[in-house]
């Protein structure tokens, strides 16, 4: 019963946010990578904060997270050797289709949040310090509102649970587009506002620094990162979801490839 380290096969540990696993994207990428290189990628899917902490303690070889500020702090501590933006999608404001706060007329994310506050319409917050929650807090700040009161519900739960609560209670919620598309079946929720330039959700790959953590399998980790930015993997990311959900869940950061690569 050995871990990755003394396993007979080549094997690395990837600590990542739940959305990359729950959307099914990794199930497309990892078997192909293994077939090519013989390297097994073991996925530990947790919140971005926990994934970075796992990396900080040297318990993973590669990280895939979506909180640029926390990631920069990680690099400033010399915990990672490289950070590359792999893909993006965007945050969207979802809510009941009758849209009581009229957020579909909003001109920005902050404006949409102000409308919710003005009408005291129900808002369901992740309140779990996740990447999505960070973006929500930044938007309230931009709107100059400190959300509090019976209309503002702090759940401390994951995206799926928050979407279902918004559905049950007829409230609004901020969601990442990928998770929303993957889970929207059966929910009476619609994307009512999107397109704020600040509402971009950036997923980055970080290689854990072998100088801090000598046992890190940096050579295999780099092989994995190189694969993620190959044209094959980037195309898979760019297309992922089109067949199953009718639209892609992510935008690959290096696809279509420029400079004739």
């Amino acid at each position: 019963m050995s871990g990755c380290i003394n396993a007979p096969e080549k094997c690395i540990t990837l600590a990542t946010t739940t959305s990359t696993r729950d959307t099914g994207l990794l199930d497309e990428l990892l078997p192909r990578f293994r077939a090519k290189t013989g390297i097994e990628v073991r996925v530990v899917a947790v919140g971005t904060g926990q994934a970075l902490e796992i990396g900080r303690r040297g318990d993973a070889d590669v990280l895939l997270t979506h909180d640029p500020v926390a990631e920069q702090r990680f690099l400033d501590e010399h915990q990672g050797t490289s950070r590359n933006e792999l893909m993006t999608n965007d945050f969207v404001l979802v809510g009941p289709t009758n849209d009581p706060a009229k957020v579909h007329e909003a001109t920005s994310g902050a404006d949409a949040f102000s409308r919710i506050w003005q009408t005291q319409a129900l808002f369901i917050s992740r309140a779990d310090e996740s990447g999505t929650h960070q973006k929500e807090k930044a938007t309230w700040l931009a709107a100059g509102i400190e959300p509090a009161g019976p209309w503002y519900i702090r759940t401390g739960q994951g995206m799926g649970a928050v979407l279902r609560m918004a559905d049950e209670k007829g409230g609004y919620a901020l969601a990442d587009r990928g998770t929303f598309i993957a889970q929207r079946t059966g929910l009476n929720l619609a994307v009512l506002y999107s397109g704020d330039p600040d509402w971009i959700n950036r997923y980055s790959v970080i290689a854990v620094n072998p100088q801090q953590h000598p046992h890190v399998k940096d050579v295999w980790a780099m092989e994995f990162i190189t694969y993620l930015f190959s044209s094959e993997a980037q195309q898979i990311i760019a297309e992922y979801g089109r067949a199953k959900y009718g639209e892609p869940l992510f935008r690959a950061s290096r696809w279509p490839l420029r400079n004739g690569h």
Binding site: M1, S2, G3, C4, I5, N6, T13, T18, D22, R42, V43, V44, A45, R57, G58, D59, G158, G160, A161, L163, R164, Q183, G186, H213, H215
Partner: protein, 216 residues
């Protein structure tokens, strides 16, 4: 993944393997300690008993966090290389089962009538013969202790997720799979996995009742 998928079997067998191993280790340590604590009289017994009973209510996530910190690359037991393996889950589950088994066995042994213990002693039994005889008297309570411990650790999710990592095909057990599928909104599959867990618990309990049929 569906209910009877081939992906389901590794999850079910790993659940059984991890929990059974943890239960055996916790029993080997916990039953003798429980018998000893139930019979012995010595100064400082009360705080020790209080400690065991407190251990029965430690939140599993705290056990998970402690085991994680121990086994982490930055922790004192890093050289074992157990983190994110089934062995780490066995360690966490053993630590959760140990105070339960010790405490409940202690209670069962203490409930054996004092004059019976006195009688066995007066027949010239050695201390080890006394302990064995008392353990036999308390066997229903001991069985109950094992079943309670089984129920606690087989369904536990916080520590299993934290130290095992819920890695597909490697450390995913029924409880962590249920939590993951619930988070993904796959309620039907989560319920089906819950059905498997219930079926597992039912079989274990039926087997235990059969084993001790005469005394129950």
């Amino acid at each position: 993944m569906s209910v009877l998928d081939s992906e389901m079997w590794p999850i079910v067998t790993l659940t059984l393997r991890v929990t059974a191993t943890a239960l055996v280790i916790a029993s080997v340590v916990g039953i003798p300690v429980g018998v000893w604590l139930g019979l012995a009289r010595f100064p400082g017994k009360r705080p020790l008993v209080a400690l065991v009973y407190t251990g029965m209510s430690i939140p599993p996530v705290v056990v998970g966090l402690l085991v994680y910190m121990l086994l982490s690359r930055s922790g004192p037991l890093a050289f074992l290389e157990w983190l994110f393996t089934p062995t780490a889950m066995i360690l966490a589950q053993t630590l959760m089962a140990l105070p339960l088994i010790t405490g409940l066995v202690m209670g069962a042994v203490a409930a054996v009538p004092a004059d019976l213990v006195w009688q066995i002693r007066s027949l010239g039994a050695t201390p080890w013969q006394v302990r064995w005889a008392v353990l036999r008297e308390a066997r229903v309570g001991v069985l109950f202790a094992l079943l309670v411990a089984f129920g606690r650790i087989v369904s536990e999710v916080g520590a299993a997720y934290m130290v095992g990592g819920n890695i597909q095909g490697h450390t995913r057990v029924l409880s962590t799979a249920i939590m993951m599928e619930t988070g993904k909104g796959n309620f039907a599959l989560a319920l089906a996995l819950g059905g498997w867990l219930m079926a597992l618990a039912l079989s274990v309990n039926l087997a235990a009742m059969r084993l001790h049929g005469r005394s129950l």
